[in-house]
């Protein structure tokens, strides 16, 4: 390559611009093997997935459609000039209706759940039941009686729905990229955990630029393994035939667990080629192998067992459900093509992606996606449209007919070797489209939102059995915040200017007052127009003994006194509440800042049976060992803080919007509704609440001093579930002292008053134990907080605090508090 040499300022400027552009090109390498250098970036996203209602052949679905909330924190950080670190943490919570099988509609596998209503008995929902006797014709097709009493064939199938209780999944991915001579290399690790699955993975990739950086070749490889420990649906046990899987099943007190392993390995060869000054092509060939248990332990296949008919007459069929059986190996090849072309106007670009895959299960899938990226000033609009079509797996079937009479020791040799009714293996197609809108702000802040609609239809597939009974739609919303830390560092920050008044170096590690991590509504004042971002996570734990403030209580006392006039049956063994709060602060005026604080909540509770509890009654919610998890977006706080420039006082008034949930329920078991979960397991208050706070900050020599009074005043009506949480007031006083030039320690004393719950659940709650009664909520608590805080380069502050309970005076009977840790991070833009 010839290098221009010119000493004029113009040439230097042009050369600099061109070098910048050229340096960006090594980033044109595929997926996992991104360039060794990494952007200094932090991203935060929230996503919601919502399915529509399924068609159950006239039976109301009853169960709420499946929804999934995802919280994702990701980022990258350069490590020197030639290394980079990438990470992402995501947390999914999902619940709602999920298909477990397909069955002939004639078998009525979704039994109506009947309820009394002012208009008489109505069908309020459906409960799966795959056990029926049917009349079949000679070909094994179900026969039903029409209105005249005549028999006619009914070949319609229907999905069988069950209910997924709230499940929590967390995944962590780490990647390290580095330059290896002329190559760029990347090494990645991933780990995920959920109640029934633990996944571990490792991937590595290498890439190299050729042809004056117009061509990039890459090679990637990955290996992952999964450990499955599925708790089989309690309701399914009475009818689910699983004799063929005895080696994988382990019984516990109330159900059976299915244990298995799987592993997957993949390799990929990629090529990126610049075609001309405004287009490039990316291509990759991938090959993967999977082994072990590749099925889904929650999916069943319905089988009509029937002895062959004599002389073409009708015959009886017994419908039973077997756990699905897929091959224990899968080989898959895929081709990815991506063509990008710049548009000749307004910096826009078109991206066309095509993917083809084919596997040893005879699944062939095509997808084509078009994205149009159009910047308009600080805004970028990206509409996309995607089409997808797949053929069916060779062992997919809506249901099976086996020419043998039903016996528990049926002849497996008369069944196919492999069978699955998972509608994801059927022939179908889909169309989805949507729009992504992002807005870039000064100093490297970008907000992004998107909405996408998806529709599945069987007749858009590539041939095979009709699976139109499984057609559905879903909607996906995403909201993201991207912080470009490099851009922020380059521009300097208004926060530094305000914070470090009197200091020549805006990045000095001194003088920023330490705010204990567990406090809210204390923030630094910035220059008007500045943005600040903060993140706070609190983890509050309860465990140990039940007590009433004066004494720990034995089980017999809790049974007799913990549940009012009723007798308690269960008690919490442990409880953990985790709150993620994100703080976006805008300094509107010199004296006035505005805050937006969305929250994401997740809760875990383990229950234990109380000794001496009364025997279970018919229709009672059945509990086994283990716990429950919930999680979803919590309430959202908007607030304003007023602070004159020289005043040590901050006056804050916030409003909590009821965006959290107060209707989270246990899943139905034994055709018995689980009802609403405990007060502490709901992710919101369900009411509009006022949040006043008054904070004073001062100092005496090297000692920093502070005090705050804050509250939650619930002035609204009771929430949609019939209750209103108690008011809460808290007084804190703290002091902090530097330990080193960049590290400080803090000591905080806190006293909290929390009122009891007003009202009670207006919908069914199982009343399992003390935690389900309003009078066992709230109390007075005193805590001692020990904290550390450090000022990081660029005006960042990181703080950690542990709060140790000193005194508990709970209302009624509650579990002892173990303590609370908090982590906070603040960054000004």
């Amino acid at each position: 390559m010839s290098r221009p040499h010119d000493n004029t300022a113009l040439a230097r400027c042009a050369l600099q611009a061109l070098r910048t552009a050229a340096l960006l090109l090594p980033g044109l390498v595929p997926g996992a093997a991104q360039a060794a250098s990494a952007d200094d970036q932090l991203n935060l996203q929230f996503s919601r997935y919502e399915e529509g209602q399924r068609d159950l052949g006239g039976v109301p679905q009853g169960i709420a459609p499946l929804t999934a909330d995802t919280l994702r924190l990701s980022g990258s950080k350069p490590l020197g000039e030639s290394n980079g670190l990438r990470f992402s943490f995501s947390q999914d919570t999902w619940s709602g209706a999920t298909p477990i099988a397909t069955a002939p509609l004639a078998a009525q596998p979704n039994r109506a759940v009947l309820r009394d209503s002012p208009n008489g008995v109505i069908a309020s929902g459906a409960s799966p039941y795959l056990n029926a006797s049917l009349t079949l014709d000679a070909q094994g097709r179900p026969l039903v009686q029409d209105q005249s009493g005549a028999l006619r064939t009914d070949t319609r199938d229907v999905l069988v729905l069950s209910e997924a209780s709230p499940e929590l999944r967390q995944q962590l991915d780490l990647g390290l990229s580095t330059e290896l001579g002329a190559f760029d290399g990347v090494l990645g690790l991933s780990y995920s955990t959920e109640p029934d699955y633990v996944g571990r993975g490792v991937n590595a990739g290498i890439s190299r630029d050729f042809n004056r950086q117009l061509t990039t070749l890459s090679f990637n490889a990955s290996f992952s393994e999964g450990l499955i420990s599925a708790r089989l649906d309690h309701d399914a046990l009475p009818y689910l035939e699983r004799g063929a899987w005895q080696a994988a099943l382990v019984r516990d007190a109330t159900t059976e667990r299915f244990f298995a392993k799987r592993h997957d390995q993949r390799v990929e060869l990629g090529l990126t080629q610049v075609i001309d000054a405004s287009s490039y092509l990316e291509a990759a060939l991938g090959y993967g192998e999977g082994g072990g248990y590749l099925g889904n332990p929650y999916k069943a296949v319905s089988v009509l067992f029937s002895a062959p008919a004599v002389a073409g007459g009708t015959r009886r069929g017994e419908l039973r459900a077997l756990l699905e059986r897929r091959p224990d190996t899968q080989q898959q090849a895929q081709l990815d093509l991506h063509y990008a072309r710049a548009l000749p106007f307004a910096d826009g670009a078109l991206h066309l992606n095509y993917q083809y895959s084919q596997d040893s299960w005879d699944l062939r899938a095509h997808s084509m996606e078009l994205r149009w990226v159009q910047p308009l000033g600080a805004w970028t609009f990206t509409p996309h449209l995607r089409g997808y079509a797949q053929s069916e797996a060779e062992f997919y079937t809506a249901h099976l007919v086996s020419d043998q009479a039903w016996r528990r020791d049926y002849d497996a040799a008369l069944l196919p070797a492999h069978y699955s009714s998972d509608h994801r293996l059927a022939s179908f197609g889909s169309v989805n489209g949507g729009l992504t809108v992002s807005r870039r702000f000064t100093n490297g802040v970008r907000l992004e939102g998107s909405v996408g609609l998806y529709r599945r239809r069987a007749d858009w597939g590539r041939g095979g059995d009709d699976s139109s009974f499984a057609d559905f739609r879903f909607t996906q919303f995403n909201l993201g915040l991207q912080l470009d830390l490099a851009a922020r560092s380059a521009n300097g920050t208004a926060m530094n200017a305000m914070h470090h008044a009197g200091h020549e170096d805006g990045d000095t590690h001194q003088a920023m007052p330490l705010v204990p991590a567990g406090l809210s509504f204390v923030h630094a004042r910035h220059a008007p127009g500045a943005l600040a971002f903060g993140y706070q996570v609190r983890n509050q734990r309860q465990g140990g003994q039940l007590h009433d403030g004066d004494h720990t209580l034995d089980d017999a006392t809790v049974v007799a006194q913990g549940c009012g006039d009723a007798l308690c049956r269960f008690a919490p063994a442990s409880m953990a509440m985790q709150m993620h709060m994100f703080m976006l602060t805008y300094q509107w005026r010199e004296n006035l800042s505005l805050m937006l604080m969305p929250q994401y909540m997740s809760m875990d509770m383990d229950l234990r049976p109380l000794a001496g509890r009364p025997p279970p009654q018919l229709g009672e919610h059945v509990h086994g060992p283990g716990g429950h998890h919930t999680g979803s977006i919590g309430d959202t706080v908007v607030a304003a803080t007023w602070q004159p420039p020289t005043s040590p006082w901050q006056w804050t008034l916030g409003l909590s919007l009821p965006t959290g949930s107060v209707d989270l329920e246990y899943r139905r078991q034994n055709r018995v509704d689980g009802g609403l979960m405990h007060f502490d397991m709901q992710s919101g208050s369900g009411t509009w609440d006022l949040l006043p706070a008054l904070t004073w900050q001062g100092g005496a020599g090297a000692w920093q001093l502070g005090a705050q009074v804050n509250g939650v005043a619930r002035f609204g009506q009771r929430n949609d579930s019939g209750y209103r949480l108690g008011d809460r007031w808290q007084a804190s006083a703290w002091t902090a002292h530097p330990v080193t030039s960049w590290l400080a320690g803090s000591l905080r004393l806190t006293h909290t008053w929390q009122g009891t719950v007003d009202g009670d659940f207006s919908a069914y709650n199982a009343r399992l134990g003390p935690m389900d009664y309003p009078f066992n909520q709230g109390g007075r608590y005193t805590d001692l907080g020990l904290g550390l805080g450090m000022n990081l380069p660029g005006g960042q502050q990181l703080a950690l605090e542990w709060e140790e309970p000193l005194q508990d005076d709970p209302h009624g009977i509650q579990l002892e508090r173990v303590g609370q840790w908090s982590l906070s991070w603040h960054l000004g833009f």
Partner: protein, 73 residues
């Protein structure tokens, strides 16, 4: 995929490297635009691919897009 087809495709792609225009460094400004990035919506893609993976049998994205984990809702 049939092997001859794959080989043919590889050859065709490899030939791109020699048949494409020699774009000089000072002509690469358009290619360096944000809108021309390999993934112009990097915040959205992992979330979308995760949903595709849970609802379709195809591979839903490139290698390493989903990492370990089931998420089989």
């Amino acid at each position: 995929m049939k092997r001859p087809m794959s080989l043919l495709l590889l050859l065709a792609l490899a030939s791109l490297a020699t048949s494409c225009a020699q774009v000089q460094p000072w002509e690469r400004g358009v290619l360096a635009r944000d809108s021309m990035a390999l993934d112009p919506t990097p915040l959205q893609s992992p979330l979308r691919e995760h949903v595709y993976q849970s609802r379709e049998a195809g591979p839903a994205g490139r290698l390493g897009a989903s990492g370990a984990g089931c998420g089989c809702y």
